[in-house]
Symmetry: C2
Subunit: 183 residues, 2 copies
């Protein structure tokens, strides 16, 4: 499981280089050559570890660990929201580089999918019957949350996690609650 120390050093250096360079130039503008230079790693070494620029991006997913939180099924609806936002606030650099406007769109898409799955599970657990139309509502909720997150990140984290959480709940909880109550 624990890799060779050299491997660890190399991979980390490249991953950090991607974050740094993305913050500086935006993900699109970052080239493999940039990564190599910034990470101070041989070109052949890079391709021994990653296939792509995007491969480096995806390898960073594990580090955005607030996307993997266990869905706290008990308690209030969408309890994931506030803790997730608070966690994001603590990882501003990383989150901004990877999820921001200047970041690679891939992670946003993945995040939205993971969120949607999480939300769908929560709703069916609470008694909503699985159906195509439920899925559509789930997309709305996930889209709302991710849009909020993106906006926050691109606006350099003005507003507090609580502000965002409140807005999110204001917008979607009444609708979802009506859906659940009506069963």
């Amino acid at each position: 499981m624990t890799m060779d120390r050299r491997v660890r050093r190399t991979r980390q250096a490249v991953q950090r280089a991607l974050v740094d360079l993305t913050l500086e130039k935006g993900y699109e503008a970052v080239t493999v050559t940039d990564l190599i230079n910034r990470a101070d790693v041989g070109r052949s070494t890079f391709y021994a570890h990653f296939t792509d620029k995007q491969d480096v991006l995806l390898s960073n997913i594990a580090e955005i660990d607030f996307l993997h939180r266990p869905p706290s099924t008990s308690g209030e609806l969408f309890a994931f929201s506030l803790p997730m936002l608070e966690h994001a606030a603590e990882q501003q650099r990383l989150v901004k580089a990877l999820l921001g406007r200047r970041g690679g769109g891939v992670l946003v898409a993945r995040g939205e999918q993971m969120l949607a799955t999480m939300i769908r599970d929560e709703l069916t657990t609470r008694g909503a019957p699985a159906s195509p139309s439920l899925d559509l509502v789930v997309i709305c909720v996930a889209g709302a949350f991710m849009a909020l997150l993106r906006q926050w990140v691109d606006g350099d984290f003005t507003a507090t996690p609580t502000d965002l959480d409140t807005a999110f709940r204001t917008a979607v909880i009444p609708g979802v609650a009506a859906l659940l109550g009506g069963q």
Copy 2:
């Protein structure tokens, strides 16, 4: 105002080439050389009209005209929804190429901004006091709608416009209504 016929022909050929190629390979994978070949246009001609691949993309915005609908301020809340979706359903090819997963993310971002502005105006017109927290709710609503649209497009337009409209309203109208009613 009306351009030289040659100019019209050239620009159209390139724009169409972008749509076609995006549907085939995805926007990212399309190169300027591809556009030139498909449009059957000289390289120097291309650069006489566009600066970029992205420039071609943006020049297509005007064609997605349902993003410019006048906000029908009267009648029900978010009346733009169903007509917009119906219009999108009629322009599947174009919409899928430009707004889909394989399309350039730029237009999605623009669409979300325009939507947010439209929604904000509608809410303030109806008496919601302008404030930062209102803006956050607006982001949620716009994000929900765009997420729905993206999902629809990438799923090849299964579901009807009415289905989507219903889901959208189910998810966000109760929350927004509470916000308006509470004033």
